[in-house]
């Protein structure tokens, strides 16, 4: 299931007035009964297709709230979350829509198929039962769109993954080859103890008589050629003479299992030329037969024959239960361009359901996906990364239904309004079971088949906007190799939340290019080494409380942000990586000691209750990789088996940190020439934190801005700047426009005097000026505003260094000697993407 907003369509209103009739024949639903015929027709369509659009409906997306996609997901964690989702939830509907360009009609022809799939345990294989998870909200969503659960569970097409098939075949091979003939023959050791029982002995004697009678008759029959004796007409139902593998045989019916055991015993004991066999008959019920054999070699031959037949039967039934995977195999073997919409999760589902267990790392996954599907295009990326298409989309959302209604109005609205005709549109003709229409509307949204159709239409239209002329495109040429598409092929959103894109063919990860990114970067670059995950704290503590608690110990700028994973856990992002180990060390020692000092410690509030645990980001990853899914993160950590309260960071992480710092330097273009110097002295910070701020953050944002208008004192303004990070975090969490942040925290500075440590700050909005004490300004000439309070200090002496400094965090970044005149920073200097412009004289 995907969360897509239903299109607010007016087509019903329009369609009445238009002349072109909107065909509304139903989607082609494929179930168990019509699967074989649908598969063979689909095979032709896919072979002829230029591209194939797909879409999946699942029983859920996240197995626990904390498994949702966060901005704090590193790519490997993101993959683990996708992996968990694909492993736990079931695919219940699969839409396949092959698109073929018809040069005669000058339009695309598509055959949308809507497969209901449901994996049944058809083979007696493993011990573990097939099971899947349902997310209640997803089920509710599907129900809202009238999803037919009965069709899915009663008549859905089953499937076997390649891995399951291999396993089943191996199992068959081992059962029929591993064991020698004899052991196979006497699977069950029959203990003689059964015959101590008088009724059993009598029964065995009777059976012996009957069998010898039958055998005698048989031999006579062969010699004399007379009819079979009607000697046991009383038990004709029980003893039925048949021919088994060209040999005369008795089929045993209506005996209890104990009696059959006794018969088996009798046969083995007294009849050298009879063999007892249990074979699986037609309709899968087993049949017990006693076969006449001529010699020991004949017996062996018979056994082999039976065994081979059973093996073939078993293999046949495995082949028969491949089911829907034939469609996937078809898509994979034809190597057609696969088109999906935001389809990383879809691909993961396809992999885990139809190929095998998902690999442990994203890298392995990507390389094997690329093997199975060499060309994949994601329409969501296409729409977001190309400026022409963005223009077409008029900056609207890139959800599938929205894209469909914006790009393909003639199909979505079912009409050809005049104003729409201005736009060159690709014609798409739908064919379902020999009914054709160029204005098709099945009327069923959120059916996988229809969604696949919409995806394909969006893609076709997007191609035409990109300048791909289908009229000139020769049918033999693969669309995926088209130079206009080349840069988009095999790019998938690893995470839509933070715009991380992965290239399936190279395995490279990139963030969405800034030019096309409509979403502003709210956060500075997330450095995962700086993150601590804290869970199990008292439930009344909120993000702000935790932030305050830690700030009391490490200073107000030590914590960049506190982000709720769920109600029981938070990410705390520190400003520097080494604080992670410091924090964990401190917490560890506080856990151990219970003296009054640790009770009075500022962190004691956080540790209240004694269940607070903390660890580095790596532990978070470890917890994510577990197959367990508890609803609350704290319970999850317990279920994963974490018994410690604090996991200290090993020294090896220190080297990692250095590496990452080096990376930051490498990315930074200009500030990289310098080094970051840190002022360790946090305790005598100019900003004193008082309780009033706590209530400030609880206020609505509109009020906050007004409050700050009222502040005239320069120190108060510095407070405001110092808390701006938390504002940003809260603003971000409330999805407020980023404009607010930039306007209200504008901060203008300049300094005049040679030896003064005072800076004059002026507020552009109020035109008021304030003086503030800034020791860093000594010997410096000028300071200019920048992102959240960073100042540029220019020394009077050209030979001295140029710094970017944060008066509140007391961080300084050396920029080298002051050859430059002006420096402009657009984003936080801590962000590796920060670019500093300097003009040399």
């Amino acid at each position: 299931m995907k969360k897509r907003w239903p299109i607010t369509i007016l087509y019903r209103a329009f369609s009445s007035s238009t002349t072109s009739t909107t065909a509304s024949f139903p989607l082609k639903h494929v179930k168990k009964s019509n699967f074989d015929s649908a598969l063979s027709s689909l095979r032709h369509h896919v072979q002829a297709a230029d591209f194939v659009a797909i879409d999946l409906e699942m029983t859920g997306i996240t197995s626990a709230p904390w498994r949702d996609s966060f901005e704090f997901d590193r790519f490997d964690v993101r993959y683990l979350k996708v992996k968990d989702s694909a492993e736990k939830f079931a695919v219940i509907q699969f839409g396949v829509s092959p698109f073929r360009w018809d040069p005669l009609k000058q339009s695309f022809i598509t055959h949308p198929h809507n497969f209901f799939i449901f994996q049944r345990q058809e083979l007696p294989l493993d011990g573990a039962a097939y099971e899947f998870l349902c997310q209640t909200t997803s089920m509710d969503f599907l129900a809202k769109y009238q999803f037919d659960f009965n069709a899915c569970i009663h008549e859905g097409v089953s499937y076997l993954s390649r891995e399951q098939e291999d396993k089943a075949l191996k199992h068959v091979n081992s059962t029929y080859e591993d064991e020698s003939l004899d052991s196979w023959h006497s699977l069950k050791e029959i203990r003689d103890t059964h015959l101590f029982n008088i009724p059993d002995i009598l029964f065995a004697e009777r059976m012996k008589d009957r069998l010898s009678e039958w055998l005698g008759g048989l031999l006579r029959n062969r010699d004399g050629g007379s009819e079979v004796q009607p000697s046991f007409n009383d038990s004709k139902q029980q003893f039925e003479t048949i021919f088994f593998k060209m040999r005369p045989a008795i089929s045993l019916n209506g005996f209890t299992s104990h009696q059959l055991l006794l018969i088996q015993l009798v046969v083995r004991k007294h009849f050298k030329d009879l063999a007892y066999l249990r074979v699986s008959g037609e309709n899968s019920c087993s049949q017990n037969v006693i076969v006449y054999i001529e010699s020991e070699s004949d017996k062996k031959m018979l056994m082999k024959e039976v065994k081979d037949e059973q093996k073939i039967d078993a293999e046949m039934s495995i082949k028969a239960s491949i089911g829907f995977r034939h469609v996937i195999d078809l898509l994979s073997s034809e190597k057609k361009l696969i088109v999906g919409h935001n389809c990383f999760l879809d691909i993961a589902h396809i992999y885990s359901k139809f190929f095998g267990p998902l690999p442990l790392t994203a890298e392995e996954f990507i390389s094997s996906v690329n093997k199975y599907f060499p060309h994949i295009i994601d329409t969501k990326i296409l729409l977001n990364s190309n400026s022409i298409l963005q223009q077409r989309m008029k900056k609207s959302s890139t959800s599938l239904s929205k894209a469909f209604s914006v790009l393909c109005p003639q199909i979505a609205l079912g009409s050809k309004s005049t104003h729409l005709a201005l736009q060159p549109s690709v014609k798409v003709e739908v064919e379902v079971d020999d009914i054709r229409s160029s204005n098709w509307n099945s009327g069923v949204k959120h059916e996988a088949g229809y969604d696949a159709f919409m995806t394909g239409c969006v893609f076709a239209q997007a191609c035409s906007h990109l300048g791909i002329d289908f009229k000139q495109q020769s049918s033999s040429e693969n669309l995926a190799h088209n130079e206009k598409l080349r840069e988009h092929v095999n790019l998938l959103y690893l995470s839509w939340t933070n715009g991380e894109i992965i290239n399936l063919s190279t395995g490279n990860r990139t963030s969405e290019s800034l030019a096309s990114n409509k979403r502003k970067n709210h956060y500075p670059k997330i450095l995962f080494e700086c993150i601590v995950i804290v869970w199990g704290f008292p439930s009344h503590l909120k993000a702000w409380d935790i932030r305050e608690c830690i700030s009391k110990v490490y200073g107000p700028t030590s914590v960049i942000s506190v982000y709720h994973v769920d109600e029981t856990a938070v990410f705390v992002q520190f400003s520097r990586a080494e604080m992670v180990s410091k924090f964990l060390d401190l917490k560890g020692s506080l856990d151990r000691n219970n003296d009054p000092i640790s009770v009075l410690h500022p962190l004691a509030k956080l540790l209240e209750g004694g269940n607070t645990c903390a660890a580095s980001y790596e532990t978070y990853k470890e917890i994510c990789s577990s197959t367990v899914s508890k609803v609350l993160f704290a319970d999850q950590a317990k279920a994963v088996g974490i018994k410690w309260k604090t996991k200290l960071v090993e020294s090896s992480d220190k080297t990692k940190e250095h590496e990452s710092l080096r990376k930051v330097k490498a990315v930074n273009s200009d500030p990289s020439c310098g080094e970051r110097t840190k002022n360790k002295n946090f305790d005598d910070h100019p900003c004193s934190f008082n309780g009033s701020r706590r209530t400030n953050t609880n206020l609505p944002i509109e009020l906050l801005s007004e409050i700050f208008e009222e502040l005239t004192d320069c120190e108060n303004i510095s407070h405001r700047a110092a808390v701006c990070m938390s504002f940003m975090a809260s603003c971000h969490q409330n999805f407020l426009p980023s404009t607010f942040i930039s306007s209200s925290i504008s901060f203008l500075h300049c300094s005049h005097n040679h030896h003064q440590n005072l800076a004059l700050s002026s507020n552009v909005q109020t035109h008021k000026h304030h003086q503030m004490f800034l020791p860093q300004l000594k010997e410096s000439r000028c300071a200019s505003t920048s992102y959240d309070g960073w100042l540029l200090t220019l020394p009077f002496d050209r030979k001295q260094n140029l710094y970017l400094s944060n008066p509140f965090a007391r961080d300084r970044i050396k920029l080298g000697t002051a050859q430059a005149l002006r420096v402009v920073t657009s984003i936080s200097p801590l962000d590796p993407k920060c670019v500093v412009l300097d003009i040399h004289k």
């Binding site: 449901f118 345990q121 899947f132 349902c134 037919d148 659960f149 009965n150 569970i153 009344h540 088996g641």
Partner: protein, 621 residues
């Protein structure tokens, strides 16, 4: 309603035990979904209160995912509970059938209902459940019976457990009327700060009240609206109200006390904070005493309606619980772990706490399986129909089923027959065991004492019991032996798909401990249990396995990966929740974590388990 008394032709027929309604497919069972839930409630309530017993039966989305997750004969009550708990926490109830019934001699008068449930997150709080697991085999089996999944998902009744309801109440932040319990009697001395706080609030309230009541004085609209902003007045329904922010529970008390001075017109309401505690006190202005009462009534009905909506199906559970009637179930441990986790509260970590907690809601639970034990051994008691057939062959205990319920229109899609079968079976058993007096009404006490013998015994699998078995039963089943947990050793790390017989053969010559009588049984494909006949040998064997002295064929097997652990390791597997699909993996993981952290040893001496040869055969698949 169809008349409760059947016409006479049926009565005559009842002598030969075959009435038309004896055929399960004609039992009219009332199917209840969201659409007809509310209208049926009062009827159900009546039937519950007039019944003697209530039978319950559940249809879940699954039971156990791996063979070893199934409750088996080698489980102690504790591990059995842990297994049932694991299932109850993951799977979902889709159908809940209840059947209040009366026993009258050889007649059972039953009113079966089958509720279709679906957990819907109506409050968008991830409740009643965020997600649930489905086992495909269960769904397929339900599909074969003609189960309508669409009805279930579109139209199933949602619910909240008691525990969830109380958190929801807090989270919804509905104003609560102040009852006298909330007002604390003790009033410690007022500090200066308290006095200042009270006086400040008092003056605010006074001003606001005056502003509201002085409406007759014509003022400019601007002034009124400004005053509104300044004084912070709001509307509560149609009445003006004012919110007083508080920082602590102490302040709540102070404000409430202060508001008593205005009690003639002001009604204080408490606004709970999202994380618990109190966010604010709201004072609502009423025009008169009648208006005050009206407001209080309004609040009550509002709360009542909302609670009803939130509770959903749990209303029925509450009715059953309030009736204190004995409940009859077929697989009580399984069913009641589900009921506890979905409708009462999350399951406690051990069996004792579970039984205590359950007893508060349902004082008497009778498992028909346990009643069966008094009759004699029934080979496979998992199937109710088979058990009924078995009893029919053995005993003459005709039971007439009378179901006066209204017949359903869609006869083809009727579910919930099991619950009627349970009633039938219970009736038969009562008549065989002679625990049903002729007139129940006259001798309630007698019945109670007779039933008490059977009540609340949850772990009553074939071949195990918490009560000492009497000689007679032992005579019937000489295969059954009592085995102490100490004599059981779990073995794993051998070749997969090995049979118990082969394993036994391999072990026989490997070490001298196997010279004595011992038994091997497969738990799942990866793991087997070895039961030593002679006490003490298991320890010798475990010691040998862990020492360097291991030699001969056993050494060979250990080198190939054979491992052994005692019963306490298995108990730890169950309690730590390491439900791997193969028991061998779970045991390995437990041993690994145990090596790091040594915990208190489990007491296994008292717990005894049963093993029967009959089940040994079962496992040799």
């Amino acid at each position: 309603m169809v008349p409760k008394f059947k016409p006479s032709p049926l009565r005559i027929r009842s002598f030969c035990t075959k009435t038309v309604q004896q055929n399960p497919h004609h039992w009219p069972i009332k199917q209840i979904t969201k659409t007809n839930f509310n209208e049926s409630l009062s009827e159900i309530k009546n039937h519950i209160s007039s019944s003697d017993f209530i039978a319950v039966s559940l249809q879940n989305t699954g039971s156990f995912s791996s063979p070893w997750h199934r409750v088996s004969t080698f489980d102690t009550p504790e591990t059995a509970y842990l297994k049932a708990k694991f299932a109850a926490e993951r799977f979902q109830i889709l159908q809940f059938a209840i059947c209040p019934f009366k026993l009258q001699a050889s007649k059972v008068i039953a009113y079966p209902y089958n509720f279709h449930l679906f957990p819907r997150d109506e409050l968008k709080m991830g409740m009643p459940s965020y997600s649930f697991t489905c086992q495909t085999s269960y769904l397929t089996a339900m599909a074969k019976e003609g189960f309508d999944f669409n009805t279930c998902i579109y139209d199933g009744i949602s619910y909240l457990s008691e525990a969830q309801e109380s958190t929801v109440k807090v989270r919804m932040g509905n104003p609560m009327a102040v009852d006298h319990a909330t007002k604390s009697s003790s009033s410690p001395a007022l500090s200066v700060a308290d006095t200042v706080f009270i006086e400040r609030v008092r003056s605010r309230v006074k001003h606001w009240k005056n502003a509201c009541t002085d409406s007759d004085i014509k003022t400019e609209a601007l002034v009124t609206s400004l005053r509104k902003i300044v004084l912070g007045g709001e509307q509560f329904g149609s009445r003006p109200s004012m919110t007083i922010d508080v920082c602590s529970e102490r302040q709540v008390q102070l404000v409430l006390k202060m508001l008593e001075d205005f009690s003639d017109v002001l009604v204080p309401l408490i606004i709970p904070a999202k994380g618990g505690g109190t966010q604010a006190v709201r004072a609502v202005l009423t025009s008169s005493d009648e208006d005050k009462d009206l407001l209080k009534r309004e609040l009550q009905t509002f709360e009542f309606e909302q609670n009803k909506r939130v509770r959903g199906f749990r209303e029925v559970i509450d009715l059953i619980s309030a009736s204190q009637k004995p409940l009859v179930a077929h697989n009580s441990l399984n069913d009641f772990t589900f009921i506890h986790s979905k409708f009462l509260a999350p399951l406690p970590p051990n069996m004792n706490e579970f039984i205590c907690s359950l007893r508060l809601a349902f004082p008497q639970v009778i498992d028909v399986n346990y009643l069966l034990k008094d009759i004699g051994p029934v080979k496979k008691m998992t199937n109710i129909s088979a058990t009924i057939a078995y009893l029919k062959n053995r005993f003459f205990a005709p039971i007439e089923m009378e179901i006066p319920n209204q017949a359903n229109e869609n006869e083809g899609k009727i579910h919930g027959h099991n619950v009627v079968k349970i009633c039938q079976l219970f009736g038969k058993l009562c008549s065989i065991l002679k625990i049903t007096p002729d007139a129940i009404e006259s001798s309630d006490d007698f019945l109670a004492s007779a039933i008490n013998r059977y009540a609340n015994i949850f772990y009553s699998l074939p071949g195990s019991s918490q009560e000492p078995t009497n000689e007679e039963i032992r005579g019937w089943t000489n295969d059954k032996r009592k085995v102490s947990c100490e004599d059981v050793v779990f073995l794993w790390g051998f070749r997969e798909r090995i049979s118990a017989g082969i394993l036994k053969n391999m072990l026989q010559g490997s070490h001298e401990v196997f010279a004595e009588a011992f038994n091997v049984r497969m738990v799942d494909r990866s793991c087997a249990i070895v039961v030593f006949g002679k006490p003490g040998l298991s320890n010798t064997f475990k010691n040998v396995m862990n020492s360097k002295a291991v030699s001969g064929p056993l050494r060979e097997m250990v080198s190939d990966g054979l491992k052994a652990a005692g019963y306490e390791t298995y108990q730890r597997v169950c309690s730590s929740g390491l439900w791997e699909s193969a028991l061998a993996d779970a045991l390995d993981k437990t041993l690994a974590s145990h090596n790091c952290l040594s915990e208190a040893a489990y007491e296994t001496k008292q717990s005894e388990i049963y093993l029967s040869n009959e089940l040994i055969n079962l496992a040799e698949l």
